[in-house]
């Protein structure tokens, strides 16, 4: 009798402690989540009409740098199909729009306009003018953020039809 009573108390305590621990861990996990104000940092609209060709423009979206590179007709002409598939075409002009963080460990690669490519100083990775990785360690191309074309501007953070098409083609990253 004594033993079964003790056993029951042990199990009851275990159950209460278990529920409490799961609840506490859940609360702790949620407390560390990004705040709503951070998540709602929202949408950034970038006007592309003033961008000069072969000159990198860096915008900020959700705290991340966004690379915008308008390509010259020569650059577009010598591109491969894979490269062109990643172009954002606005008003007949080809643009690279991507998150400017190296896909290795998140440094910002620098644009070398003479060589028409990106070089990451941290670990020596390189990308071409379409953001495709050409030299290790980065394992994948620079990521194209959700965008929607609106006249001569792009809205970052919103998924437009052109973005969805790229997503289906699997060329976003």
């Amino acid at each position: 009798m004594e033993n079964s009573r003790r056993g029951f108390m042990g199990k009851a305590f275990g159950a209460v402690a278990g529920v409490g621990a799961v609840g506490a861990l859940y609360a702790m996990k949620k407390t560390w989540d990004p705040l709503p104000s951070v998540k709602a940092a929202g949408f950034t609209t970038v006007d592309l009409s003033a961008v000069e060709p072969n000159k990198l423009v860096i915008e900020k979206w959700r705290g991340k740098p966004i690379f915008i590179l308008k390509k010259t007709p020569e650059m577009v002409a010598k591109q491969t199909k894979e490269e062109t598939a990643r172009d954002v075409i606005v008003d007949g002009e080809h643009y690279l729009v991507c998150i400017g963080l190296c896909t290795h460990l998140g440094c910002i690669p620098a644009y070398r306009s003479a060589k028409e490519d990106f070089k990451c100083a941290c670990h020596g990775g390189e990308f071409d003018s379409s953001g495709i990785n050409t030299k290790a360690p980065p394992p994948s191309p620079l990521v194209i953020p959700p965008f929607k074309i609106q006249g001569k501007s792009v809205v970052l953070g919103e998924e437009g039809p052109e973005y969805k098409k790229m997503k289906e083609a699997g060329v976003l990253a």
């Binding site: 996990k29 560390w32 989540d33 990004p34 705040l35 951070v38 940092a41 860096i58 900020k60 959700r62 705290g63 991340k64 740098p65 896909t103 290795h104 460990l105 998140g106 440094c107 910002i108 100083a121 941290c122 670990h123 020596g124 290790a136 360690p137 980065p138 394992p139």
Partner: protein, 404 residues
């Protein structure tokens, strides 16, 4: 209820309530240390003392530091450095101690490896010590975030990105750790909390475990000799101190320990007053800027060897190699298959293994600091491969070791 008598003195009053005589006996006058040791056995006390210095200097910095992305940089570089009287002293002491503590940790670790102080019942000393190494690394990293300079920001970016675990792309986990898409206010606040409370709590607990783990196997000695501590202690207590192979922890051993600590402190304060700059990266005197990566990112010198194991490989293999380097030292007591707990100099191939490992880690450290180009990349790659190969080879070269 226990029986208490009228106290004859304050000592007696405390003794009846707290058993201070017993405590002193157990912790100091009858805790036995072998005589056959050298100055390297004082590194534990040097580390404990340096931790104390970090704690005291940290308390003073904490009183003026502002964990806010807009204020942090100036609270360190203006308020503490220029306005607070002797603020510069606490900052330089804290920065130099944070760097030097790793030098001593490495010496302490290599001493343990050289003399085989991780086997024959001393495994938990080694494992608790490695846990302390991990805790100190986390403490150093979180502290490095606080001045919110360029290196703070970008080191935070790069290291938290490691948690996406390469091709697994766990970006949600990275954002959860940061509390933001990039290091920001939430990130600075939580690393501040980790640095001043949670990790120090872990460190204090681990120091207790590390000391406790020493209690039963006792400290190793220069020859790995198995000492009968009870027999030797009996000789000591009988007054045959010359014959006994042991001395008491306090005040005998402690007085020698503190002599080494004194010499260390002279070196330490020489660095604090004349060469503090080695512990302060010039790039971190630029405020954090999320849109500008410094041209060359490298960690503090004590992380360079493991950083260099990450760097020369493609992303996923690099992460695996890096993870390997982080955990492999934990397994040393089990990868070393030889029963010999004697100095490396008497262990043949292990002696070569030890020195190749030391040289390899120095090479990795040097290459980690240099830009990842040309011949440096190649040397780094070779050194990283050698590091992994050494650990894979360890069980084989120790398995057939002759019994000493």
């Amino acid at each position: 209820m226990a029986h208490f008598t009228k106290a004859t003195s304050l000592h007696d009053w405390l003794n009846q309530r707290l058993a201070i005589d017993t405590l002193r006996r157990v912790m100091a006058t009858e805790y036995w240390i072998p005589k056959n040791i050298n100055f390297l056995w004082a590194m534990g006390m040097v580390l404990a003392f340096t931790f104390g210095i970090l704690l005291v200097s940290g308390i003073f910095l904490l009183m003026y530091y502002q964990p806010n992305v807009d204020l942090a940089f100036d609270s360190v570089n203006y308020t503490i450095m220029r306005e607070v009287e002797f603020g510069w002293l606490w900052r330089h002491v804290h920065a130099v101690a944070a760097s030097v503590v790793f030098l001593i940790i490495y010496i302490h670790m290599l001493t343990g490896i050289y003399y085989g102080s991780y086997k024959k019942g001393r495994e938990m000393i080694w494992i608790s010590g490695m846990l302390l190494f991990v805790a100190f690394s986390a403490e150093a990293f979180s502290g490095y975030m606080l001045p919110w300079g360029q290196m703070s920001y970008w080191a935070g970016m790069v290291i938290t990105n490691l948690f996406s675990l390469g091709s697994l792309e766990l970006n949600g986990l990275v954002e959860w750790i940061r509390g933001d898409y990039v290091p920001g206010q939430a990130f600075l606040d939580r690393f501040f909390m980790l640095h001043v409370l949670l990790i120090p709590l872990f460190i204090l607990g681990l120091i207790g475990l590390h000391f406790g783990a020493l209690r039963i196997p006792h400290v190793n000695n220069q020859d790995g000799e198995e000492i009968d501590f009870e027999e030797e202690a009996a000789k000591y207590k009988a007054g045959k101190k010359r014959e006994s192979k042991v001395i008491a922890f306090a005040n005998d051993f402690l007085s020698k320990d503190m002599f080494v600590v004194s010499i260390f402190l002279i070196f330490f304060f020489y660095l604090v007053f004349w060469h503090y700059d080695f512990a302060m990266d010039p790039i971190n005197f630029d405020p954090a800027d999320g849109l500008k990566t410094p041209p060359h990112i490298y960690p503090e010198w004590y992380f360079l060897w493991s950083y260099e194991i990450l760097r020369p490989f493609p992303k996923d293999p690099g992460l695996i190699a890096f993870g390997f380097a982080q955990v492999i030292f934990f397994l040393l007591p089990f990868l070393d298959r030889s029963p010999n707990a004697v100095p490396a100099s008497r262990r043949g191939k292990f002696f070569i293994w030890f020195w190749v490992m030391v040289v390899d880690m120095i090479v990795l450290t040097a290459m980690g600091k240099l830009p990842p180009q040309g011949i440096y990349s190649t040397i780094g790659l070779v050194a990283a491969v050698v590091f992994i190969a050494l650990w894979v080879a360890l069980p084989f070269i120790t398995k057939n070791e002759k019994q000493v």
